[in-house]
Symmetry: C2
Subunit: 401 residues, 2 copies
Amino acid sequence: MKIKTFEGNVTFPKGFLAAGLNCGLRIKKPDLALIYSVKKCIAVGAFTRNKFQAAPIIVSKENIKNPIQAIIVNSSNANAGTGEKGIEDAKKMCSITSSFLNINEKNVLVFSTGVIGKFLDMKKIEKGIKTLIPLLSNRYNQTVSSAILTTDKMIKECAVEFNIKNKKVRIGSIAKGSGMIEPNMATMLCFITSDVNIKKSVLKKLFLNAIENSFNLITIDGDMSTNDAVVMLANGMAENNIIDKTNSKEAKIFYENLLFVMKRIAYLIVKDGEGVTKVIEIIVKNCSTKEKARIIGKRIANSMLVKTAIYGEDANWGRVLAALGSTLQNFDRKKVVIKFGNYIMFKNEKPVKFDEIALKNYLKNNEIKITVDLNEGKESISILTGDLTEEYIRINAKYRS
Amino acid sequence: MKIKTFEGNVTFPKGFLAAGLNCGLRIKKPDLALIYSVKKCIAVGAFTRNKFQAAPIIVSKENIKNPIQAIIVNSSNANAGTGEKGIEDAKKMCSITSSFLNINEKNVLVFSTGVIGKFLDMKKIEKGIKTLIPLLSNRYNQTVSSAILTTDKMIKECAVEFNIKNKKVRIGSIAKGSGMIEPNMATMLCFITSDVNIKKSVLKKLFLNAIENSFNLITIDGDMSTNDAVVMLANGMAENNIIDKTNSKEAKIFYENLLFVMKRIAYLIVKDGEGVTKVIEIIVKNCSTKEKARIIGKRIANSMLVKTAIYGEDANWGRVLAALGSTLQNFDRKKVVIKFGNYIMFKNEKPVKFDEIALKNYLKNNEIKITVDLNEGKESISILTGDLTEEYIRINAKYRS
């Protein structure tokens, strides 16, 4: 299916407005964002399973049971590890937002990202939200995209348009990624809006399925954040005939577009991973089960030794072999084939002679493919990760200062 | 119990000789080591569970069922991922060694460490072994200790002496560590010799128990090698009354000394971990089960974000909290206490105010303690790891070149 993409973000679909600004949590960069729909939306979400879920996650998991009309997000402070006061503050962010927008506080979602273990400066946030309201606009603006970032270097946006029968339907998105990314059911911060008209149960199913095949296939450093969430709002303003079955042709069109958006954002998150200079795709092929392929892929993707080798443009496939073996999964060593790009490195339980110069050139690319073929079944998986560099250390050694 | 330590290594106990030299696998540094006992030894070992066990591991696991009289070890090439030819080569290393020593090849153990996926240069090794034989000596020499190293910066040795009734008994050891260390039942390369007179089944039990409480409590980067092994030889030449019960007073004395040796070597391995500037001790206290404490401790110890924060001397305890939560273990958030050294950072589900300057000074130390107290039970564990630095990246980005 051909996907039609556009420059745009959460304001791309009909009826969505947004704004971002600096409210003083950070020195200069925008740190507060508001997304608003003129009509109430059905909303679905996936949240971090970390046992120390941040306060806003706890509040939003409750509120998302209701129709949603606004999302308020701050960066710089995660409001995590902040106990009951943290929960009060998160609720207050909802009630301040709702009072200025003249809606019910239960129809607001709240998110925070940044340093763990500090209380929010609520005065700055309250003043910030008040200032945000008149800035709300449906025009494309990047301030909202940048206001949710932490150590990210690039904004992450995606917008697509497609037809459901004769109606134009749109999906827009913004996200923040960088470090501490190993999604587990839930993911990093990503907000998706759409004007699609869809039944909530159908949206939920397609949304979770798309997450499984996008965000749950990336990893930066194996660390799972306290604040990760992917949330999607749909306000129905495209006025298409309601999508009420997951197996309809219309549901399929919608799903393919949603999956495209999520995959694109997932890719951008890896590409902009802390210190990443190369995107690495780990493909585990012909495995007996999907779950086994996933375990193996994740293990290789999280191996610091594999990641540093790729950074060094060193064809050290032995580390892939060691990571594969360390999963303790069963497989036939004699059937395993390991490839870097199209170059076979290991086959028939023996190293394979390869063209060192051609391979060296291949490893200079910014996108590196490592394939592990188990030749035992039909399941495959592709995991995206980044290399591990001195820059990752520099970013994370002094994060608080 | 007071432990008496000495300068010494595997030649410290009676009847053990050793030698090391450069046989040309590396440019200059010693790369081949031989340990020999004038009397046959009972031998016990623990080996990596990696599914891609290297060829020498496969051969040694078989031979160790017999009495052992010699161990031949090369560095620079791991002889892993080398299929049947690799196994032939490993066996050949045993047979060459045995023929020169005039013993049976089944009484020889063989180990290799270094790059994965290259065939051994058997000509160099054969010549090397031949040259090693006349160099065998019971005098303390560090060449044998350095010949088994790869990226290690320091040799790792330990020697102790104690009395079993009126007999002096000795234990000596050498090891190689550095990166790719997350022991799982087995560990990195470590050779332990002793002149103790002990029943094999008793030695095995005490040996595995000591490993569980030393090597299995350290981690550098969570990667499990294809070649890891800890092996112990005992030749009985101390002539003490045989230790034939695990619960005897003599067994306890022996165990405490063996545990000391293993803990010392484990500490040295972490201290000399690739790029490590600080040794970090993760203490998980008052947990309901030992296994849960171990899972939590390992998770925190392997968190790249925790490791980089300690490197940056940054009291970012929020990352400890996030790592704890990401284990998905059950615990009461309200009971959790997190400490850096003696400074409480988190209690009653709230950040605790601390003296920033005093803490900054504490974090300048080379040994940092992080305590997570769950206040729910009686089990505790202490895991050693190192910080994560640019140096680790530099070492591992260009390992093969």
